[in-house]
């Protein structure tokens, strides 16, 4: 008996419930389609979608996810502006919007001269919380940038070392920052807290010095053979340990309490500092670190294969690994100086973005960046909202508390055996 189309079987009508009698189909010699019919027909089914159609579908899905993430980031950023920096109070969105409007007005008044030029004092008379909101803007911007840097560095390290627990702390450039700070304090003694320009110079300089030493030792250790990544890792961990111990002992012998206070003061001030110099340094780091990775994002998958496979592909995997490590280290240095080292972000976010966007680096790149920014901004908001003693919660603690359930959830979704 041939099968009738679904228009013949009208469920809403007051026909008899017997499906065969429901309309005149049985009389016309038609029957209802059953599951076995569908199974038989599926054998002859042809999927007319071409590869470009499938690619387009994939791209559309990716774009949808990215748009959702960007929207979430914008909303979270806007919400973060309404959380105060010092007092635990919240400003209404209207207030925040008018502060932003005032800032835009001040920005444009140099171009379009208005009758009444605005400056900060007048803005604060109009909006009493203007300065707070603008400070918070700077902090949130810094947090977003640091989240981007941390997440990207984490992905790069995990791809280079082909190890799911590779974190950027492994290469040990953070000890260089410590060394730079102690050098600054020992050189300038009590007046080190006034040297705002030299702070960044010393920290970045120390860290880049350590990076150079690690790279050169790694290359020396690998010998004439091509650059081996594991050697550099081991050498890097050794050098960081050495430096850390040497710094501790120098600190133990040559620093007294006043100098330690200066040291802690500087290390506090350097984080989330919204002066122009920190933006300049972050911009430099972006150009030097993130832009090469952005340009190379189509080739960076090749690092994850074994050495023989990448040779077949015609990509110089070793050069890519070297570039990734250098850029990743620079990103980590900047993130540590401006935000404090938060290894959890670098560990979790690559797993998350791999789960959401797939393992290819070009698909993962933007998702990684956005998820990292989102995570860090979210943790910063939570840390600012909880009135813990005077200074509030340290952001590293909040990050580890927030990422723990994310990790557990991720592990629960994946079905893995011991391998």
């Amino acid at each position: 008996m041939p099968i009738g189309s679904k228009e013949n079987f009208d469920i809403g009508s007051d026909k008899p419930s017997n499906p065969v009698e429901r309309d005149g189909s049985w009389r016309r010699g038609l029957r209802r389609m059953t599951d076995s019919d569908a199974f038989e027909l599926s054998e002859d089914a042809i999927d007319f979608r071409t590869s470009s159609d499938l690619l387009q579908e994939e791209r559309r899905a990716l774009r949808k996810k990215l748009i959702i993430l960007v929207a979430a980031l914008v909303v979270l950023f806007f919400l973060s502006l309404s959380i105060s920096v010092s007092e635990y109070e919240y400003y209404s969105p209207l207030e925040v919007l008018s502060c932003l409007g005032l800032r835009i007005q001040m920005f444009f008044q140099d171009v379009f001269t208005t009758a009444t030029p605005l400056n900060v004092t007048q803005a604060m008379e109009i909006q009493p919380h203007y300065y707070e909101v603008m400070t918070r803007f700077g902090i949130s911007l810094m947090t977003v940038i640091c989240g981007v840097l941390l997440a990207l560095a984490g992905t790069l390290y995990q791809n280079v070392f082909r190890n799911p627990i590779a974190a950027p702390t492994m290469l040990g450039v953070s000890s260089g920052i410590n060394m730079g700070l102690i050098a600054l304090v020992l050189l300038f003694q009590s007046s080190a807290s006034y040297m705002t320009g030299y702070r960044y110079l010393f920290c970045y300089g120390g860290a880049i010095l350590v990076l150079l030493v690690v790279m050169l030792s790694g290359r020396a250790v690998s010998g004439r053979r091509s650059f081996s990544v594991v050697d550099m890792l081991l050498v890097g961990s050794i050098i960081s340990q050495l430096l850390g111990t040497v710094t501790t002992y120098i600190g133990y012998f040559y620093m007294d309490d006043t100098l330690w206070e200066v040291y802690y003061l500087i290390s506090e001030q350097i984080k989330v500092n919204t002066e122009v110099i920190s933006y300049i340094s972050l911009f430099t780091v972006f150009v030097v670190g993130v832009v090469p990775i952005f340009l190379l994002r189509f080739s960076l998958n090749a690092m994850s294969f074994s050495d023989t496979d990448s040779k077949f592909l015609g990509v110089n995997a070793n050069r890519l690994r070297f570039i990734s490590l250098v850029c990743g280290s620079i990103m980590v240095i900047a993130a540590q100086i401006h935000c404090g080292m938060i290894a959890m972000v670098s560990l979790v976010v690559p797993h998350l973005s791999r789960f959401l966007f797939g393992a290819e680096f070009k698909k993962q790149f933007f998702g990684n960046i956005l998820i990292g920014a989102l995570l860090l901004l979210f943790c910063r908001n939570i840390a600012a909202m909880i009135p813990f003693l005077e200074d509030g919660l340290p952001i590293g603690t909040v990050v580890s508390f927030v990422t723990m359930p994310i990790f557990v959830w991720m592990l629960a979704i994946q079905q893995r055996s011991w391998e």
């Binding site: 190890n163 340990q241 111990t245 560990l347 590293g396 603690t397 629960a412 011991w418």
Partner: protein, 456 residues
């Protein structure tokens, strides 16, 4: 038979006759057939990691080895076994030297490099050791030094073995005993003890008289005495074991009954980060409260070194679990080689993978926890020593386990020795890193270009 094959034609007359060179050496005489069964190979023809058993070379047909008259290379000891024997001899000799030499030679406070002072100190040590060995009452404080070095020995061995086994089980070259969160659990346990049960300041050694001492602990039996004096160590032990069990539980629950090694490592790291966050919160809170005594104690825990004086009781308390664990591992060490394979292959070779894995993780956790409870967080030994030992003797656990034990013991003893000489014995956590780092750098630089850690 065609002339070409017989070699009688014009072409083969032009070519010089060449004997085929054998891979295993010349086989010109029947005696040399034994070279086919020697354990050594030509290093030129091998590829991949060179583990030290390439150090013996067979001389080629043309050259004569300068040692041919003295040493027949075919009867040499297996280089891996030889390395272990040399290491054990070295450890023993260094122990003797470290105990006999006087302290504080290169200290920053007093540069006593004069020979007279050395000989004085040496004589004093000899007298004290004689008094100790002949069980006299007064031995001048040398027993603290002996106990310290014995504990360094055991701690180094325990950490080295647990590091090697963790790296083998988790199949990750970056694994170490602190991967599963033992160190952070230990810190948390100590800090809980300090917050709730302890009113004093940082742990220091004070000299009190025998009457005071015996009046404090009068009327206790041995278990109550241990409980009373080693409370912090017990809390540390409990803290680390509880945290590791939590990590295993979470990894198992997340994997819905199955434990994935990636899940285990990640859970351990997440837990470590969380606990470090909690500890920093506690430190902030204590700073806010201004409780300096407890704050000092917490700071000393968090930095990871303990300047504790060890007594014979500490030695016994460390020796029992450590020697038991090492004994079990030494008996089963060949079995752990099979863990390098996949689950199914290993099971087809005859071991129970889950049982062996549980045993390994349990014993290594106990070893590490005991060491951390008594010596503070010594983080670098468990990561570095297995890599070094693997460069010496190769990845076979039959040789790797003794080698890591001996190398770890040597490293920690050397570090302790240097701390005693140069600084005021500030504890072995920090300077172990320097010593291990330098040793590793030397080893790695000597081995550069030859078979790096491609097995990772």
């Amino acid at each position: 038979m065609p002339d070409v094959l017989k070699g009688n034609d014009a072409d083969s007359a032009k070519r010089p006759e060449k004997k085929p060179t054998d891979v295993f050496g010349s086989t010109e005489s029947p005696e040399d057939v034994r070279s086919l069964f020697s354990k050594t190979t030509r290093p030129d023809e091998t590829e991949g990691p060179q583990y030290g058993y390439s150090k013996i070379r067979l001389h080629k047909n043309e050259e004569v080895s300068p040692y041919a008259a003295t040493v027949d290379a075919r009867y040499a000891m297996d280089p891996r076994k030889r390395a272990i024997v040399l290491l054990s001899v070295g450890v023993f000799v260094f122990f003797i030297i470290a105990v006999f030499l006087p302290d504080q030679v290169f200290s920053i406070n007093n540069l006593n490099i004069s020979l007279a002072w050395w000989i004085e100190g040496f004589k004093e040590n000899v007298e004290n050791l004689t008094a100790l060995i002949t069980l006299q009452a007064y031995s001048g404080g040398i027993e603290f030094k002996v106990c310290q070095y014995i504990i360094c020995l055991m701690a180094g061995a325990a950490l080295g073995i647990s590091g090697a086994l963790y790296q083998g089980t988790l199949k990750n070259a970056m694994a170490s005993p602190s991967t599963l969160g033992v160190m952070s659990g230990a810190s948390l346990g100590s800090i809980i003890y300090i917050l709730f049960f302890y009113s004093g300041g940082a742990i220091t050694t004070t000299v009190i008289s025998m009457e005071e001492f015996s009046s404090q602990y009068a009327g206790m039996n041995i278990f109550q005495y241990i409980l009373a004096t080693q409370m912090q160590a017990l809390f540390t032990l409990a803290g680390s074991t509880i945290i590791v069990m939590l990590v295993l539980l979470i990894a198992r629950v997340a994997g819905r009954g199955k434990v994935s090694k990636v899940a285990l490592i990640i859970a351990g790291q997440v837990f470590t980060a969380t606990i470090m966050g909690i500890i920093s919160l506690i430190r902030y809170w204590l700073t806010y409260r201004g409780d300096t005594a407890q704050l000092e104690a917490v700071q000393s825990i968090a930095t990871g070194t303990l300047s504790v004086t060890f007594t014979w009781l500490d030695v016994v308390l460390v020796a029992i679990p450590v020697s038991l664990g090492i004994f079990i591992i030494m008996r089963l060490r060949s079995r752990f080689n099979l863990l390098a394979f996949d689950d199914e292959e290993a099971r087809s070779m005859g071991i129970s993978t889950t049982g062996t894995r549980n045993l390994v993780i349990g014993i290594c956790t106990i070893l590490t926890a005991v060491v951390v409870a008594f010596c503070g967080t010594v983080g670098f030994v468990g990561f570095l020593v297995p890599h070094l030992a693997r460069k010496l003797v190769g990845p076979d656990f039959k040789y790797l386990v003794p080698a890591t034990a001996l190398l770890g013991a040597a490293l920690v003893m050397v570090a302790n020795f240097l701390t005693n000489q140069c600084l005021n014995g500030m504890g072995m956590g920090s300077i172990t890193g320097i010593v291990g780092a330098l040793v590793f750098l030397v080893a790695v630089i000597r081995q550069r270009g030859r078979g790096n850690a491609d097995w990772v």
